[in-house]
Subunit: 206 residues, 2 copies
């Protein structure tokens, strides 16, 4: 894909890249059909070109297909979402209840993304005064995954309304893996360049 | 830039996008000449198309031009780097001492990036069980800034070997702003698709 001399990106590419950023979006409405074989692997390979502190590459991707594991996460979302609703009052509570915040039941692919706090790779370089750099490295990789997916026409939604410990336990991953994200992935039902929360008016009256 | 119907990205774009990811790199060797007027603002506008939890957009960018402020950060790096060197022994200490880990003295643009923990935007949505999502939103924006910069041929280096509190105090930012990154930005002296730490053999003998 890449040669030995650095690429020069022309104006046409830059304009398309700007469109990619504008249309990336957090997707919560998915078609249920499976993605083509090998596509997720290709997208993850692009994500792993991401920067990481000390070249530690601490990302751990777990593709979750087991029905019981998925249900445990759906139940965690339902609990957390009901709890969050209780924090709002009046019109804002009504609005919150109307939001669709995840595609946990529809998205054909579900990926739990962890940061391996036990990794020796990188020999600690660059994270002595800012140990959170290890987690940030995983966030950067997720961001690249998101953009790479959108290039392929695939939608991604990041679900954070879950209990990290419940997810970790349900998947049986090592204790030193910290949950960074739960990703719903699939073909989007519809595209938009306006964020769903903006369309719903979540920022009104702040 | 973007129309009302979603863009379709063709194979030529996808191939160039893959090259962008491969050649992004953390840059530590910069030419000292200034960047064209308005370029940083354009790149930050692209970065701000990034996803953020609850549409909170908590990123705060501080372009640092003051010589005394820059020197305070260089001094912080020098302290932290000497301290980190003390953690390594023998051949690895020799290797660490030989690494060029930042371009603090050469990069014409220096940007401190903070997460505003005091923001009311987003009304707390999506970060009750994972409050760290606010910081992650800033990391995603930095990742997009990095890629947008590379599209324009501009290099970015993320410096984490500093004391966050020293940086915050030197810049006089509000107490609720958390330092996420110190970015060195400028034209790179040379491009490579191989990370500097890999070229230096930092992972050997792990």
């Amino acid at each position: 894909m890449s040669g030995t001399s650095p690429p020069r990106f022309d104006e046409a590419f830059a304009a398309q890249f700007a469109e990619l950023l504008a249309w990336r979006r957090d997707v919560r409405r998915f078609r249920r059909e499976a993605l083509p074989e090998g596509l997720i692997e290709a997208l993850l390979a692009q994500a792993e070109l991401s920067p990481s502190v000390g070249h530690s590459q601490p990302w751990r991707w777990v593709r979750v297909t087991d029905a019981a594991q998925r249900e445990a996460v759906q139940a965690s979302f339902a609990r957390c979402n009901a709890d969050a609703l209780g924090d709002y009052e009046g019109e804002r509570a009504r609005l919150y209840a109307s939001l669709k915040l995840e595609g946990l039941r529809e998205a054909p692919e579900q990926i739990a993304v962890f940061c391996d706090h036990g990794t020796a790779q990188g020999h600690g370089l660059g994270r002595k005064t800012m140990p959170e750099m290890l987690d940030y490295s995983v966030v950067a990789a997720i961001t690249q995954f998101w953009l790479a997916a959108r290039v392929a026409g695939v939608g991604v939604g990041w679900v954070s309304i879950v209990e990290p410990e419940v997810v970790r336990t349900a998947l049986g991953v090592p204790a030193e893996w910290k949950l960074i994200a739960w990703l719903c992935v699939g073909w989007p039902e519809a595209d938009s360049e306006v964020p769903e929360l903006v369309r719903a008016g979540w920022e009104r009256g702040r």
